[in-house]
Subunit: 87 residues, 2 copies
């Protein structure tokens, strides 16, 4: 499956969250990661993030696409990171 | 179609970009919007954003899902905005 992850966490926890996300996904923009991931790796990722964030203050969204067959990505402006995965 | 929009723009342009995004989509997190949108509204949205941002400095990503049948959304932490669209 393919996931898009967007985080919004307190400054103190950004480095930790980035490090965790980078282990599993590709960075695409400031607070956005994406990538193919297995179900078990996704569970690990969520667990690690759950431990790293402060649930009352921080927020992480995962969009889970079981296929990217019906999806595209478009960008405006500067390309800030990551490789092209979508065509 | 359904789109997920993530922006990363200079502070001076945040208010303008938010205002544009709110016309077309639902706010879900700090810099994330999502929603059903027609092809023509999506074109307008892109055009308005293109005019509002500084292309060398800012960045807006659109994920376009032609169907949300194969998608889910999960969240960790605080719910920061928006209504639930995904089940």
């Amino acid at each position: 499956m393919f996931i898009i992850l967007v985080y919004d966490v307190g400054e103190k926890r950004v480095a930790k969250v980035l490090k965790i996300c980078r282990k599993y996904l590709t960075w695409v923009q400031n607070s956005v990661f994406e990538g193919e991931i297995t179900e078990s790796a996704y569970k690990k990722l969520k667990l690690e993030l759950k431990r790293a964030i402060v649930e009352d203050e921080d927020s992480v969204i995962f969009y889970i696409l079981r296929t990217i067959k019906y999806s595209d990505r478009e960008m405006l402006g500067r390309k800030k990171g990551g490789e092209e995965i979508f065509l």
